[in-house]
Each structure stands twice: as C-alpha cells, then as structure tokens.
Amino acid sequence: MSPAHARQPGHGQQRGNGRTGLISRLTAGWHESDRPASLHEHARRYGELPPVHRGRVGGHDLIEQVTAAGLTGRGGAGFPTGTKMHAVAARRGPAVLVANGMESEPASGKDQALLGRAPHLVLDGIELAAAAVGATTAYLCLPRSRAWLADIADAAIRERQHAGIDTVPAEVRELPHNYVSSEETSLVHWLNGGEARPTATPPRPFERGVRKRPTLIDNVETLAHVALIARYGPSWFGEAGHADSPGTMLATVTGAVAEPGIYEIAGGTLVGDVLMAARAGAGVEAVLVGGYFGSWHPVSQVASLPFTRSGLARAGAAPGAGVLFALPPGGCGLVEAARILRYLSDESAQQCGPCMFGLPAIADDLTQLAAGRPDGDPLERLGRRFRQISGRGACRHPDGAVRMAASALSAFAADAHAHSRRRPCIAAHRGRPRTMLLPVPQPATEGAWR
C-alpha cells in the first residue's frame, strides 16, 4: 500500500488536481518511533527498492518519470529535478552524484529530521538517481557539526552494504558548517580539495563539477521523493498537491506556534492552514517566510496564499526550503531582522566586495534602526545600499540578505518609520517584552572552510 493513504486525518481537502493539507509520505511512521527506520522497517513501509537497469526502473525511464511527476528541488531553488537530471545524463562520461544534506538554514530542520528518521529513503534516492544519470560515485554531504547525523547515515549505509542492495554506495562527507557551504559550488569546491566556499560560475556543476565530471547535486528531500516516484509512479505523486506544485514537501514551522516542528504538506496548501496545523497563536501578526534568505510579511498578506513558489510570488515571497516562522506578538521584527542580517554578514565567505563590505553596512543600519538610535537617515541609506549590493556576488548570499532586510522594512514599515525618528519600538511601547527569538548560530571559527 502506498503511504499516500496514511495521511493524518482532519486537514486534507480536495482543491484543484490533488489533495492539499497534511499528508504522510516521507513522514509515514515517524510517530511510531523516534529512532531511524531500519532497512527492514523501511522496506515494510515502502516496499523493496525497485531494481534499476540502465536508468530504467520497472520498464520506465526514471528521468522521464521524475520529469512527468513535476518534482522540483526541495533545497530552496525549486528547479525542476528532471531537467537537471537530464542535463547531467546528457553529458559525456561517468557522472558524480552529490546529495546535499547540509541544511545550513538555521530556521530549517526538515533535512535533519528526514535523515534522522528515514535515512533509507534518502539512500534509495541516491542509488536510483545515480543509476539514472550514470553516476559511478555518490557523496552524501553533511555538516561536520552534526556528527549524530553522520553516524545514522553511516549505520544505514552499512546495513545496505550487508544486504548488498546498492550499486553506487553513498560515501558520507562531513563539511565545515557555514551558511554558504551548502551552496552547490561550495560542495563541489570542497569535494575537489578546496574550501567550502562558493566559486564563480560558469562552469556550472552539471557541466564540470566534482573531478571535472558532470555532477548532479540534489537536496536530500528531493532524492527521497525520487525514491517514491520510482516505486509508485508520477501519477501517484500528483495525487497530492496542485498541478503547478505536485507532491508533498517538508515544512519547518517555528516561533509563536503551540506545536513547532516538521510538517509534510501537499503542494498548494495555504500558508494559513500550515500555521493552523502548527497551532499558531491568535495574536501572530507577522511571519518570516522561506528562512533567513526569505521575507517578512504581515500574516494577513500571505495566509490565504498557497505555500508554493507561484502562490507566494504574488506577495513577493518564496517558500525557500519550506520555512515558516511566526513572530510572537511581543517580538520586534526589526530586531529579529537586524540579528539575522548580522549573522548573514558574519557568514559571508568574504570573497566578493559588495558582500564583504555591504552586508556589515546594512547590518549596522538595521541595528541602529531597531535600537531607535539612527545616525542620519538609515531608511534612505538602506534603500541605496540594497540597490548597490543586489546581484553583485558570485553566489546569491548578498541577494538573499538584501531581500530579507528589504522585506522587514516593508512588513514593519510603521515600526521602521517610528524608529528612524528616534521613537522607541512600538512592540516595546505596548509594554510587552522585546525578545530575541530566532536561532542565530555562533559564527564559524575563523578559517574553518576546509
């Protein structure tokens, strides 16, 4: 039986092509135990790994299946997975597969949860995708700071070796844990013996990546979906979700919610429904959508929009890696934005001028503004600096930071104007505590790039 039918009761609704709401596919059985599923449990839950021969699974071309399913990358960029697989498979010579389990986004926890609970789903996806694109080597990249995750992955890989099921066994690699180290070109650079920092493109990894070979890099959740599409087919995949965002996705919901955690939702589920599933407090007025590279919005602006790329685009937002953070009523969005920006500035790879100098500058501006102690006109200065910094780095780090900062100024426009006139925080003015809420990890130690 496919796990689509194991969805949790209450939230599923028919809307457009497939069901929306909470659906358990990747998360099937997570509530049964808090240990990683063994190979035996995994096979009982999803069935055996279908045999792959010359890129075909059960008589179907896997890349065509993935393309037909409409699967998009779950790491944040949302690029069509089938197109990416095809681009790698079409290149000459043996390819390399890289499973990206770095999850450096501090407000996201879904990849860790997935690898921690269902490692074999990801490892199935690695084996299948490697076979489909002609990869002879596969790496599973994890941050060095999460040794427990590497232990789980290693144990699962040993189990599979014992059972003799993989033709391209995944090799775990533990990388330095910096925000930009999860970027595709950072992974390639590090696997080639360099530092885990982004490099200038082209060439892009699918052209010339690890050891100059065509390299497919996919997020671990994306690969888990590949494992299910190979088993149940593209039409099953589309039984959940809208036509423009088929299947399910993992979302991390935190902040002012009674039940923070990882939720598996069908594509097209409304932001308001996701917040309700996590039992967001009634007083929540603003949310951070998409993570630290995401954007702040009044709840009223996004609640009735689907939590998808196309749906959120109407509000100028994007789901990123599926992050929602509900700002508690007592919190100041500008304080949070300033803290995130300081973190992102510290996490710059210090390679490109506009990022190296621009991010600290806007972090200073935002900090002054949030504290109600502006020097000159910080709003005018921020507007000018946003325009100067955007699009001028080798990677998207400065763009993401600018986007988050700019969205905070518009979502908290009243606060920003009050602060820029040296008036205290409106949230604080109401006599509520000004709290610091979002997790801001300690910056990586100097030089920890190798």
Binding site: T83, A200, Q351, G353, P354, F357, A394
Partner: protein, 75 residues
C-alpha cells in the same frame, strides 16, 4: 550581438582602475567595487577593452551576448 562587461566578483579587489578608464560604463560603489552598465555601445568598445586589459587582477572581461540572453539550463 552586443558586448557586455562582466566582473568576476571574487577576483576583483577594488583597485578601481576600470572606473577611471571608462567612467561612462563603470561606476564604483561606496566601497570601491565596480558597478557595470548593461551593455557596451560601439563607440565605447575600445575604452572597454582598455579597462579589461588594465585590470590588475584580470577580473574584468568583455563577453559577446545575443540581444536576449538565453535562459540558463540548470541552476
């Protein structure tokens, strides 16, 4: 076909020579890094080439682009 200036932001170390050589196409931001015009008109081509060949870190280059840039294949 039009010409376009591109900078490798990792190689660039803000010498600023390029902005002196072709200020019509290159302005420096407040930290001294170049901000480039979208395309190079024919009458400034020679100046743009001079800026490229004088960049101390070889960070600047001229590329030929079709009028509309193709969408990249994979991200």
């Amino acid at each position: 076909m039009t010409l376009r200036l591109e900078v490798n932001p990792i190689a660039c170390t803000a010498h600023g020579l390029c902005a002196d050589l072709v200020p019509e196409l290159i302005q420096l931001d407040e930290w001294g890094y170049p901000m480039l015009a979208d395309s190079v008109p024919y009458h400034l081509e020679a100046h743009a080439r001079r800026a490229v060949s004088n960049c101390p870190t070889l960070a600047l280059r001229l590329t030929r682009v079709r009028a509309r840039r193709d969408n990249r294949k994979a991200s």
